[in-house]
Symmetry: C2
Subunit: 333 residues, 2 copies
């Protein structure tokens, strides 16, 4: 296992500590239980948005805490759900009196633990809405998931709902917006290589030197098909076609196109994928009105790429463009 770490059991704690030291003007860290929260929390009369999940997908979620996005993020151990006390304590810290929105990727552990935290908070009279993101078109059920997995649309939902919360959306309206984003977002990924969870010390799965896996999950869960490596254009077509036909995205639609590295795939390759995606969408009369290209929802050092398309309307475009200031996503401020 080649990693720049100290003890495997300290990876998450030390990394989150580093994030907090680097971005102390934006975030603070609570260690027992662990969560990262806005340095200016609570923001009074704003719905507080909290997400979380296993670590190893950085910058998601802790890198998205800050103005215009999340109020708190709860990192679990690598590829392991956070515990309900993390979400509960985070909520108590950032609640500004207008309720809490939990944005939860559809993995059984996450769903269960966020629900438990929501029940604890509701018992104390705090309003909580739980919205599940399940945008991965690759497979129906999966290793850790009933139904579809939650992947790239999560990043977009956190940005868009974060902007809406700053604008004053109330909890009910914000939860509806988050469901709309989930309903209009579709993703699929692929991998050339596995990754290694520090505590395990060996790769999560095996792929031959000439193989790739289409439809991979962000924890290395099996995808649709293992096959010989194809060209970037062919890979992009496979991902894009599965996504486009699923919603379906149609001629005249405006979309946000999100090309994401699983971590180890370099930027030079991401833009080769973006180029082909642009041409595919253009040929179908689908217009890319907004874009995001980079590493935003990763699987440690896994080489691979995922594509997310989100259908846009004026509301979503305006909220996407609104200022954001987090460690990993920033503009307009």
């Amino acid at each position: 296992m080649k990693k720049i770490i100290n003890k495997p059991e300290d990876v998450v704690k030390e990394s989150v500590e580093g994030l907090g030291l680097a971005w102390s003007e934006i975030v603070k860290v609570n260690y027992e239980p662990m969560f990262v929260y806005r340095a200016d929390a609570p923001v009074n009369n704003k719905v507080a948005i909290i997400s979380g999940g296993g670590s190893g997908h950085e910058p998601m979620h802790a890198g998205f805490v800050g103005y215009g996005m999340l109020d708190a993020a709860c990192p679990g151990e690598v590829f392991t759900s956070p515990t309900p006390d993390q979400m509960y304590e985070a909520a108590k810290k950032v609640h500004g009196g207008a309720g809490i929105l939990f944005i939860v990727k559809n993995y059984s552990g996450d769903v269960m633990n966020f629900e438990m935290a929501a029940d604890m908070l509701k018992a104390e009279g705090i309003d909580v809405e739980n919205v599940i993101i399940d945008d991965d078109v690759a497979v129906k059920d999966s290793l850790y998931t009933q139904g579809r997995r939650g992947v790239g649309t999560t990043v977009l939902a956190e940005k868009i709902c974060g902007a809406a919360a700053e604008k004053g959306y109330d909890l009910k309206k914000l939860a509806e917006l988050c469901k709309k984003v989930n309903g209009w977002g579709r993703s699929m990924g692929m991998a050339l290589t596995p990754c290694t969870v520090p505590a395990a010390g060996k790769p999560t799965f095996e792929l031959a030197e000439d193989e790739m896996e289409i439809g991979i999950g962000i924890h290395g869960e099996p995808g649709r098909e293992r096959m010989k490596i194809k060209s970037a254009d062919e890979i992009t077509e496979m991902l894009a076609e599965a996504i486009i036909e699923d919603l379906p995205f149609k001629e005249g639609d405006e979309v946000l196109a999100f090309v994401n590295s699983m971590g180890g795939t370099p930027e030079i390759e991401l833009y080769i994928v973006y180029r082909k995606l642009y041409k595919i969408l253009e040929s179908k009369g689908i217009k890319i009105a907004r874009k995001l290209v980079g590493r935003y929802i990763t699987s440690l050092e896994m080489q691979g790429v995922s594509i997310t398309l989100l259908k846009l309307d004026d509301e979503l475009k305006e909220l996407w463009d609104a200022p954001v200031k987090t460690p990993a996503l920033r503009w307009g401020i």
Copy 2:
């Protein structure tokens, strides 16, 4: 070779095309010869700043074209210098009448080709200043370099000089500023793995499963020492100590701390390095006043990390904080 590409010979062209399609509001692409330039070029009466070098280090340099940073970037083939006609034509396109600053990393091919372009431009009466970045403390001479290699400080020089150019610095003052940044910046990197140039199809060097190389160059040039993998804290100490003693950075100094992934090393590991770097500097009374953490000067999918420290004064802090809007670096706008 596991990569998401089409033909190896099309990698740079297709990737740059993708960048141009994604960020058309910020950059345009010229293909013959190839350069990426500001969509609003030329900016009248502003010194135009141009950089470039071999591809494979993305987002550097094309990802740094835009308001507050570069006016143009000239990408060569992967790990290969661009040719003088690229810099010459780029300069003709973006020259706003106030002269041209070339920011050049210290590799023999780059230095020679930027000099040739400068001579061609000067022969036409265009003022050009050529500033060489040579901040890598690892080794004295190297595979492609006389003297020290140019690495992480390049990113900082492009940001800081870009802001100064927007502020109206004239060419002479801007070149002095760039030399000051180079004089105050020091870097060193290390690698856990090599990377593979697409056209070569095999790794640039070999490292055993339990080995790392300290002082590696961004093209895989030999560093100071090959050794057994050490802990993140020990690696950070080795890099930081070499950098700190070189300037030297002293108690009371304010610095910009830049922790950079060589590409394949994930963010979770970068913040473990940042954490230790923070503690080392704190123990020496050196204050991190600004920071940059992420993938900004990379070596394709190489796993490894580099650290850059830049001594700061009020001028550099103000210019660092100034608005910037490029594909890869953006704030305040």
